[in-house]
Each structure stands twice: as C-alpha cells, then as structure tokens.
Subunit: 240 residues, 2 copies
C-alpha cells in the first residue's frame, strides 16, 4: 500500500483537528503520539486531495488518524504564519525517512512535508464514552490528555488547541444541544459541571441556572427521584 | 513591471476580502469591477507569497486592489468546495489573456489561475467617510454597493459576502468599539441606526437601549443640546 503521494494533494495546505472529549467533569484533548525514538506529539492532521472539499478532507483525516468518524467537525481558524515549518520533521529527517519508508512514503513526499504549510484548524467536542479512538499507522498511541496538562506538541499545535478552546467557550451556549454531551434527561448540576470543565472556573449556582434557563432551550420535567423529596433536583431535557 | 509570477505564491490558496462600509444608516460592500468586455464583479482578492503570513497577505492584497490600508481585517471562514474554479476566467481565457498580457501576466500565470482554489475569507467594517478606495490595475472601477443589491459576483463570492454578514452580525456587540464607526459622542438613536442597518431589521427602542447598556461599554454624558430640553436625547461615548 502506498500511503502518500504528494502529487495527489494541494501543496502547502494542511488540516489539523482539535478533538475535545468530555467525561465526568473533565475536558480532554485527543493526541496521537508519532512512532519515533524521541516521542513526538501532534494533533491529528493531514492533507487535502486536489478533488476533495476541505470539510470532507477533515473528516477523512480524522478517521485515518484516530478511527473516529461521524462526528460534527467545524473549522475555527487558519494558522498561516510564514514560519510554520515542521522543524521536528526537518531535524529528524533520517529517522523519519527510515520509519516512513516502511510505511511506503516516498522521499519526495518527505521533502514536500518540510515546506511551509498553512493549516486550517477544525474542532469538535465529543462524549468520551461514545467514541473509540484507534491509532493510525504512523502512530505509537493515541490518548486523551487533560486540556490543562497537554504534552508539548509539534509546531504551533499547542496554540491551535488554545484557539480552539477559546472558540469552544465562545460558542458553547449555542452549540450545547448539538454537541450531544448530556444524557436524555439531566440535572442543572450536570450542565454546570460541563460548563465548569470547559471554562475551567466555578460558576455561582443561581446565576448559572438563570443564564442557562434564559437560553430557552431546556424543558423542566419532574424532580429526580432520590428518596429525599425536598432536596431532589429537577430534571431537564432539551426542548424538541 | 511584472505583476504576477505564479512561482512566488502558494498554489491553490487565495484570499478574498469582504469590506463592509457604513454611512448614514446604510451598509455597503466594496466591489471592484474587472476590466473586460462583459463586466465581471468580484471581491478584492489575491494570493499569498511563499514567505508571507496570511494576515499580511490579506492587508497587502486589499491595498493593491483598493488602495485601502491600515484597517482591521479579520479572517472569518475558509471556502473550500472541491469545485471552486474560476469559470469566468476559464470561459474568457482569450480575452483575459490579451488583457492580462498588457498587464504583463504570463501565460503560465493564467493557467495557474484556472486551478481549483481554496480561499480564506477576511472581512472588515469601515466608516465610508474615512476610507478612499482606488481601483487596482486590473479594474475598471471600484464602488460601494448596498449589501441588499449586490451585482452577481464571480464564483461563490456572493455566498462569501453572506457568510461575512452572518459573522459581522454575530460579533457586532463585541466589536462595536473596535470598528470605530460612531463619532466621539453619539446618541442611542445613532447606535440603533447602525444595528438596524447591519441586521436589516428594526429594533424596539426600549429593548435595544437596555441591550446596549447591558454590554457595559458606554458612558452616559450630558443631554444633547437641541433647544427643546425635555426631549433632548442623552449623549454617550465609549468608556475608556
């Protein structure tokens, strides 16, 4: 199998994906580790076929690198500094070359990869329980890392995560339903835990409840059965 | 002078700029008209030098095509359908070729231009009184068109304007100060006219005033002197 023929791709343009995962009050990011002596961590990324839309390319790249498919990926920013060059690749070209030859990369392909690239960032937020990442052929592992303790990533990939997190925070109110991170019915406390994980700060309970109810997307159901009727919290679901 | 050597640019990646202009309650878009027998209207666009950041490229392109410099341009979306090809150019290659040869385009450059391009959209909102557009060498004119009555633009450029308008509306609250569209001191009515032009709908006066004051960016000054003290509106300015 030939993994990579640079002639099939748009030159100097790449896509990188920031996949946020949420589970039990914690926000994580999915990071593949590239198969080399000195471990290299990078966002799942790749290139765009000359006859492929960028949105389809993003979905394909994500599936090739992590096995994840059928999620809602959204572009959020283009990273286009003139010095965006993969120096980790340049500095380890020989080892890459050996490694990649096993994967049937061509030498031309490796040189092509050391050009300056403009990269389109895509992001998504998923329920960690609902996806099952598998590592790609170039990788030694693919793992979830807490967003507050990411490893040092290649190039400007740490900055890409920061910018994606800003976008996620700014859009959370309107994306809350679409992200599909809450069970069928849930308590206000569960919504608050989600917001607190994403914003990395506590919210005052009353203000938070008012803010969320003002979004006008929730329907209040009966109280949750806890045995202690007085203190039982209400259950909510998203309005259809 | 040689205007265009395709070897200096990143291939298949372009930048297009949506420049909104505001004046007297009206929202307009700056559109150059390309110098050809059959008039072609397109957003001011161009290409990225291999050693140039995309943000600097956007500013340079805007200046080359419209003479406008020193404004705040922001990227808002990447247009990357697989069929983004300049059919107007393809269908008029001979006339373009004659025209562009006068401008010292090379034939290779013209062929290069007929490839599929991914385009990064940038937008800005300016005070029409404060800028002075000049047409570029390829153009017959560069004019402001009301956003509701744009000519048919090439490729997906009308869609690019729509998407930029969505972005402008979504970000108006937080960009209000930065856009610098209001005089040093202004009435609430002037703010409302600006919003109504951009959203293309009326706002109820009391609700609008509350919404804007809730943004917490305005400082209320004395009443405007109108001679009729009772009905005189308050003046506001942006808090420093």
């Amino acid at each position: 199998m030939k993994l990579f023929d640079e002639k099939n791709f748009i030159h100097q343009l790449s896509i990188d994906c920031v996949i946020f995962g949420y589970k039990a009050g914690e926000l994580k990011v999915l990071i593949p580790k590239i198969l080399l002596k000195k471990p290299l961590y990078s966002l799942p990324g790749g290139f765009i076929y000359v006859d492929e839309s960028i949105d389809k390319a993003a979905l394909r790249i994500l599936e090739e690198r992590t096995g994840i498919n059928d999620i809602y990926l959204e572009q959020y920013y283009v990273f286009g500094n003139e010095n965006r060059i993969n120096n980790d690749l340049l500095n380890n070209l020989e080892e890459f070359s050996q490694q990649m030859n096993q994967l049937e990369f061509e030498e031309n392909g490796l040189n092509w990869l050391t050009n300056r690239f403009v990269s389109i960032g895509y992001y998504a937020l998923v329920d960690i329980n609902k996806v099952n990442p598998k590592m790609g052929e170039m990788d030694e592992s693919v793992d979830w890392y807490n967003v507050k303790s990411l490893p040092k990533l290649i190039m400007d990939h740490n900055e890409m995560v920061e910018k994606a997190l800003e976008t996620l925070r700014r859009n959370l109110d309107e994306k809350l339903i679409g992200f599909n991170l809450l069970p069928e019915t849930f308590t206000m406390r569960e919504v608050q835990e989600l917001y607190e994980a994403i914003y990395d700060k506590p919210f005052a309970r009353n203000n938070f409840q008012k803010k969320i109810l003002d979004l006008d997307v929730l329907e209040r159901l009966e109280k949750k059965f806890t045995g202690a009727a007085n203190k039982a919290p209400y259950l909510y679901r998203f309005r259809r």
